[in-house]
Structures are given as structure tokens and as C-alpha cells.
Symmetry: C2
DNA sequence: CGTCATTTTGAGGTATTTCAACGAAGGTGG
DNA sequence: CCACCTTCGTTGAAATACCTCAAAATGACG
């Protein structure tokens, strides 16, 4: 784990991706942090880089910081009594994670790829909120945004067909995750079993759904971590068919 | 829909149920609104009573207010293209709902029972947040709390067995909803089909799971809206068996 | 007290899970 | 740099559990 100096003038600080819940600032307005706010966050936080598979924190441990992703992908998950694992979320650039419950983390967070992120002590953050109420609103927007995403995901999980669930997952990656620069292909940074644990299905079902989509001519895989939508019309129909 | 005068001295104002994400204020500390904050909210909001089945707002319509439940149960849902309905949440006393996206409600909200609630204009609320940063933090706590609940529900939805999913639902009602005063029985204010839409299963499966639990001696139904856990040990085992 | 929506019960079809084994890929050390 | 080993992913076949369709029974409500 490499810690980098924070608060340097060359460090723009973290950004947060969210959407306003009011319409006061114009419909569709992204609620973005001002440069000044990003700098403040950079000052009270620490910028760090961690390699893939690093554990950021474990569930049930004392929570002292929240994290903001700058680059890379993080997953959060819980272990079930049966030994199975359920992913709570994938976090991409500009996502916040590590909000805890009663001072304890409820999930384990692990880097899927190499990750650059900010670690911000909760105490400093809450203190900053009191000085800058507008910043608190940004985080509230972010939290409500994530809440809506979680509700949408709940709808995905109720789909019976594995092919459709996987299609919605790929659609999510296309929106949230980094697109592969060329041909507008979709990058799939996580493993098949991560996808299975996220969608609540078996590894085998994910595999079969992948080949099924390819066989039907909806998508084309270029290795296991890059996929391209071939038949956009039918792909979108599959996504919407629920 | 009956609107009641707000801001009267006899009106204590709404309360919010949440949990701190830091531990600054003591482990397990509920983050409760001060009397003063509740009064402020009562002043800028409107207290109202609506009968069962009232629509509070419809999805895609302009959002101008958020709501806080004082008494009763509300459900929020979306209609899927197929015509099926998926419930996003049940809201009980001290729950907040109506947080929107880009000034539009994303769900439809409907009263399950007769409901008493506060309607608070978003503009007034955000203005209040700027004057009272601590209040903003309360709402942030609430939002993160609901986010965690949504993640827990996602885990419920991945259960394959209908009996287990229903058991987890009853457990949720036992914690969140109002317990029936006598014998510590659980009140089930919503219909079977509401439960089905919430758990993502068919109405028939809910019915069979209910009778299945009763037949196995785990619970005993007293009509369709009251259930009592008979064999707590095995019931809890079922809840945890995932 | 009657009507109507909701719930229960029944039977067959289908999709996913599970178990098992093979094949591919990535990482490590010599 | 290559070989080995471990992890991950693919494919196959049987079993389980839910969904759908259909009809009867219960309960809610005026």
C-alpha cells in the first residue's frame, strides 16, 4: 500500500459522482464538487495506491475512514454463514464507500484492480461538514444516488432469467465503468465468480449466460474481460424485458 | 387527504430513525433529532393524514417534497414494462421517503394503511440544511442507513428458497414495523401480493411459504395479518440459513 | 348479507442449482 | 524464460423448486 502526499497544490483532490435530488440547479445537473471542496478533502485525506486484491478493510472492524475512488475498481462483500459470498457493490471512479454502522464496517472492501483512492478520516469529514454545509449536501446527494442504484439492483435480482440478469449487469458496466477506449467495447474488470456473487447466481450460470448471449449474436467477447455489443437493438430489448 | 396545521406548539414534529456512521457519539447511539430540530421541520412542513390506498405521488412526476412517516405504513414501487410490479420499500414510522432524482420521483408511493406523515418542501429543507449542518448530517445518516438496508435486502433476494425469504421478511417486520401489543406477535399490514412484489416471487409462492412455515410449526397465523413465532430457535435458524 | 377481490390449493413445465470433470489462464519459482 | 501449480472458467447431466395456468375457498367491505 503506497501512500502519497496529500494536499499538494498539484493534487486536484477527489471527485464525487452524484445527481441532485432537487431540481433547483437545473434538470440533469450533476452535483459536482468545486475545486475548493476537492482541495479541502485532499487536505484532510490521504491519497494512496493499492495493488489488486488488497483488502481495504474487513467487516465488523472499527471504521475510522471513508474512501473515494479515483481510479480502478473496488468490490465490497459479505460472507454468509453458509460460506457463500455476496457482493454488495462494485465501486468505480468518483464513488464513495466505507460508510459504516455504529462505527463498524458492515462489508469487507477489496481492490479488484489496482486502485488509486483517497482515505478520509470520518472525524475530520464530519467536522468539515459542519463548516461547509454545502459539502454535506453533496454527500447526501451521493448517498441517495447510491440508494436508488441499490433499488434498481434489487429489481435486477428478481429477474428469473440468467441471460437477462447478465445483460443488465453489462449495461451497468457500460454506464458506470470505464469503457474500453476503442470500438466502445465494455471492460469487465472483475472475475466471473465476482459477477456470480453480485448477481446472486452460480458461477456456472454466469458462464452459460455469457456464451448464450454470444451464441445468440447479441454480444461478442474478446477474451473474458472485454465484450462488445453487436446487436444493440436486441440487446436493449433483452435488458428492458422484465 | 387531510392537512393539519403545522408548527403548532403542541406538534412535536417528525422523528427520524437512523444510526450514526461514526462512533463519535457512542457505540449504538441512535442519532435522534433534537426537539428543536423537530419543531423546525414541523414549521416548514405540513402534517397530514391520508387514508389507506392513497397515492402520495407517482413515478416520473415532478418532485417538490420529501415525506416523513409518523404513523402507518407506506409502500413505494415501480411498474415494469411487463406489467409486473416491484416494490422498492416499505416505510414505517420515522422513515423518510420521496428523495428524487433530477427533480423527478423515481417510484410511486402509496399508503398501505391509514398514514400520518409530514410533507416537507425540498427547497425549504435544503435551505434549512445550510443553516443547520447538523440536521443535514442526520439526513445523511438516515440515507446511509437505508442504503445498508437495501444491501441487506439484496441478500434476501438472492435466496432461492421461498420459505427462507419469507422468514427474513417477517424478521424485518418484527424489527422495523410495529409489533402487535399483546404476545409480541408480528403485524403484517400489507397484502400477500405486496409481499410477493417486494420479495420478487409469485403470490402463490408467498402463500405456500406461509402455510409451509405454519405446517412446520415455526409460526402460527392468527388471521392473515398477524403471525406469532412459535419455535424461535428453528425460526432464527431458518433466517440465518443462507 | 351478498358481492368481489384476495388467497389458497392443485398440476405440469422450465429454468437454475448442484455435482463432477475437463480445459484454460495466471502467477511463482527455479 | 520456461515449467509447474493453483485458480478460474467451461461443459455436461440430473434434481429441485419456483412459475404459470386454472379453479375453488376464504375473507373484506359496502
Amino acid at each position: 500500500m503506497i501512500k502519497l502526499a496529500g494536499g499538494r497544490s498539484s493534487d486536484p483532490g477527489p471527485s464525487i459522482r452524484a445527481v441532485t435530488f432537487g431540481k433547483s440547479q437545473g434538470v440533469g445537473a450533476k452535483r459536482l464538487l468545486t475545486d475548493r471542496q476537492r482541495q479541502k478533502l485532499a487536505t484532510i485525506g490521504t491519497r494512496m495506491k493499492v495493488p489488486a486484491r488488497s483488502i481495504l478493510y474487513r467487516e465488523e472492524t472499527d471504521a475510522d475512514s471513508i474512501f473515494i475512488v479515483t481510479e480502478g475498481v473496488v468490490k465490497t462483500f459479505r460472507e454468509l454463514p453458509s460460506g457463500k459470498r455476496r457482493l454488495s457493490a462494485f465501486l468505480f471512479a468518483a464513488d464513495v464507500f466505507g460508510l459504516s454502522e455504529n462505527g463498524r464496517y458492515v462489508n469487507t472492501a477489496q481492490a479488484v484492480t489496482g486502485v488509486t483512492l483517497y482515505r478520509i478520516p470520518i472525524d475530520s469529514l464530519t467536522a468539515l461538514f459542519n463548516r461547509d454545509p454545502e459539502l454535506g449536501l453533496q454527500f447526501l446527494s451521493k448517498a441517495t444516488h447510491e440508494l436508488r442504484e441499490a433499488q434498481r439492483r434489487a429489481i435486477v435480482l428478481t429477474r428469473r432469467d440468467a441471460i437477462g440478469r447478465l445483460a443488465m449487469f453489462l449495461r451497468m458496466l457500460e454506464k458506470d465503468g470505464a469503457r474500453v477506449s476503442d470500438h466502445g467495447a465494455i471492460s469487465i474488470p472483475m472475475s466471473r465468480s465476482d459477477i456470480a456473487d453480485y448477481l446472486g447466481m452460480s458461477l456456472e450460470a454466469v458462464s452459460r449466460a455469457s456464451t448464450g448471449q454470444a451464441r445468440r449474436g447479441l454480444v461478442a467477447f474478446d477474451g473474458r474481460h472485454i465484450v462488445r455489443v453487436v446487436d444493440r437493438k436486441r440487446f436493449d430489448e433483452l435488458v428492458a424485458a422484465l
